[in-house]
Amino acid sequence: MTTPTDKVPSDGAPQPSKSAPEAIRAIPVRHYGRYVAAVVVLALLGLLANAVAGADLRWEAVGDYFFDDQILEGAKNTIVVSVLSMIMGLVLGIVLAVMRMSKNPVTSTVAWGYIWFFRGTPVYVQLLLWFNLALVFPILNLGPLYKDEMTDVMTPFMAALLGLGLNEAAYMAEICRAGIQSVDEGQTEASQALGMTQQQNMRRIVLPQAMRVIVPPTGNEFINLLKTSSLCSVVMFEELLRKAQNIGNTSGAVIELLIVATIWYLAITTVFSIGQYYLERRYARGSLRALPLTPWQKVRQNVFTWHGRGPSAGGAGA
């Protein structure tokens, strides 16, 4: 049965009540565990600081060498080889992912074999293999194209680039494949129904949407790569760690120079992490109604809500 309130004539439509009830002012739940945890952490930090203060460390050496020309060059080499390897890995990775998913059994098997090999062997071994290639192929002979002594071609830089880049491609291939497969099949059907070819579909419809899934793990991969590049010291590549160790061994300040390298690695990865965060945020645009808050916005919100009022959540997406 319909009650009278179900059908209210337009002139008597229900109105929101004019006098809002008093806003709720309750006493928040107290989190005593947080105070306890803070005290414990502070105590532990104090012990650590005490231990470091008593250690036989020459802090001035850290300062002295931090901006040393050798260290700066090492940091530059680390960044250069990482960026170039990543570009190589990304381009080759997309190609491998498309090959892997191809209906052509030859290309998909080749891609499978590539990923199987380069993902299945340690990058350390791969670096050594590239570096020592001259032992078995003293001459690089590409027929009419190119011919030279292998030792001239396989410089420490080349060995580092090939070792890191080809290895990275295997991982990027899997990331790209996951991204491409995450795009709804209906998208491909729609573009096919419009008369677009498979190539147009991939380039215009699927890849742009796959990017949202590909970018976050790619940022992760890059930071990993930056750190893995420290292995390149085994192929005589003059990257950050090798430079630091060189100085450390000659000056006797081994730990001090390792601290220098540690701080540099942290600084570089931090800068790139921040970049990654904003890149992800950019690609989330259009798919989310409200973008996640930036760290700065979070800090502001936390500080203001402490006092019970502040900017409302999710304001960034408006």
Binding site: S191, A193, M196, G286
Partner: protein, 253 residues
Amino acid sequence: MTAMVKSEAVHKSFGPVEVLRGIDLEVQAGDVFCIVGPSGSGKSTFLRCINHLEKVNAGRLYVDGTLVGYREKNGKLYELRDREVAAQRRDIGMVFQRFNLFPHMTAAENVMEAPLQVKRESKAAARKRAVALLERVGLADKTDNYPAQLSGGQQQRVAIARALAMEPKLMLFDEPTSALDPELVGEVLDVMRDLARDGMTMIVVTHEMGFAREVGDSLVFMDEGIVVESGTPRDVLGNPQHDRTKSFLSKVL
């Protein structure tokens, strides 16, 4: 006069499951041809065979006198290349149950995409026609909105405009209102009604019996992969002859 779509003994299986077990029918140019039937009856699969999203296992399918998906030469069938299949699909528009709009493009960009990529139209010309088409489906003010910012009914109307942008001679509708809230169904059916009035050949898989009766020129009832009954919508819906048709209609009408 050749039929717009001619289906001769079309069979389709997915593995061991036979979804279509011999479909014979003809759709005349300018007709609105409705396909009704219970879910799993193969009606959507048949629709997808018409633009070769699904490969037919046996039988022949012709659109405007041309064999779909294959070339017949000296009694042998040759599979068409990806590019050739794509060319065949240009003249056949399709509207999906779940819209399948491109989420990374605005409404206007969705409509422009195929003319730009497939027909190599200029951006200005494509944009101009996209705006006109969106206006035609009543979305003149939504050209620069992304699909996520539109209601289901609006998204489906953009999808219809997107299909029309290729100036197809045949439109396929795969349950275009099934994913919509009841109050949004009407706006999509209105657009389809206008399209029918303009003489577009349409094949519509639908559960909207009212629409089929009002707009349809002919109607088939499918069940378990075959056409059980066919005729004018008034006859089939109003005076069904077969028990299966009767029991289905008694549940949906």
